[in-house]
Amino acid sequence: MKNIVELFLGILTAMGGFVEVGELVFSVDAGAKFGFRLLWVVALGTLGITVFCEMAGRVAAVKGQPVFNLIRERAGLNAGLVTLVAANLVNLLTCTAEIGGIALVWQLLSGWPYRWLALGALGFLLLVVWVLSFQWIERVFGLLGLLMCTYLAAAYYLRPNWGEVAAGFVPGVPHLESSSEYLLFAYFAVAILSSVMLPYETYFYASGAMEDGWNPGDVNLNRVIAIVGSVLGSVLAVALVVCGAQVFRPHQIEPQLPGEAALAASLTLGRWGLLAAVGGMFFAFAGAAIETSLSGAYNLAQFLGWPWGKYRPARTAARFSLTWIITFVLAALIIMTGVDPVSVVEYSIVFSVVILPFTYFPVLVIAGDRRVMGEEHANGWFANAVGWFYLGIVTLAALLAVPLLIVTRGGKG
């Protein structure tokens, strides 16, 4: 019985935690620019994140050790350090973008100055992570993030041509007007892939498995949660693309701010839809901010052998606690310099994909290593094939990301 509840909650939490600010902004924008023609990239990225989350979770469950301990043991100090620095840079960037997102959402509601709201967001996040246990944080932000389902309703009521939506899932490039449009399409493909496959999700998921006390017997539970939760979460991303396509494309508007995405909800569902959408965005962004900051702290502590875990009183995992605190503070400070929050979102997504191969490669190698995982739990031929295929894709995306950013002048074409 406990397992069913655990399964259910795990799936809902994974679903509610799927969307974050970069995904929201790029999904809506992708819909506005290219209609449904990038939906296959959402699906592609979802399968990828599912595969890697399952691998990371399996490694944690089987070894009883967090992923970063194993990366250091297996890849050695220098290679492991590269992965650590890469992953934590992305974490900091993403956390910064999320705090900016929270501030923008609050600005939508209150009209107060954005920079002071970032400070307020900092205070809120510090308080919440300090006071609440890991399980409470997981549940509250994951489940309340499900308010994003408002966009599912909004997408439905916007009456898209469902045949065209389905066609969008077929991989392909639409016929476009000019070469710069093709480059823009490629840029959005890379950005959406990145936003769906952010590495913090993989590492956080594995550490979360340890916070929740998983063991080798939980491997199957892990698989189901990873797959179902991600697929359901991706449905939210699809809904955002549909909203972008139906609301903004006909008028050739380029939505940039998360607030504009909320417009889609209010158009079809009125004031309550707007409030629910805004609420969903707040919990999704705050959840992501928390996950990225904790993920950075987990990574550092596990790599260097510090005591870690929210299950420990803060005083007994002091450097771990200071790390997530400092991460939040740094992220908020960056926002308070007044840097354009949308640019922060953009850069965080682009640089995340550049670093993605470095963070995924060790997970793939360790999960497939029979000496480490044992015959029974190491990657089967299918997981290996899919894993290497995705490593190829993210490497390609990583190589193209910065050139595309430059050539498309930051997605403006």
């Binding site: 297996r74 890849a75 290593d369």
Partner: protein, 91 residues
């Protein structure tokens, strides 16, 4: 000395033949299970070929061993071993 200095050290015979890189220091006897030891004696050097795939951890190199007694010197950060080792471990 420190263990990390041995990692990936080049292994050469006295006559200059290149054998591979050091992977590990092997101590005979079971891993500690409660009995105190003052130290672990290193009985063998584990070495092998180190290509790109091995460095990345994609493939495992074939490990070979040399008894520590066959190590003649450490010169310029390279491990110099007896010529007879090169003959024995050829192929």
């Amino acid at each position: 000395m420190r263990a990390h200095e041995f990692q990936y050290m080049e292994v050469l015979t006295e006559s200059g033949r290149f054998l591979g890189h050091v992977f590990d220091l092997r101590s005979r006897g079971e891993p500690e299970y409660g009995e105190p030891h003052d130290a672990r004696t290193v009985h063998e050097i584990v070495y092998g070929r180190l290509g790109l795939f091995e460095r990345l951890g994609i493939t495992q190199a074939e490990p070979q061993t040399i008894p520590w007694k066959a190590v003649k010197a450490i010169r310029d950060g390279k491990l110099i071993v007896d010529d007879s080792v090169g003959e024995r471990n050829r192929g």
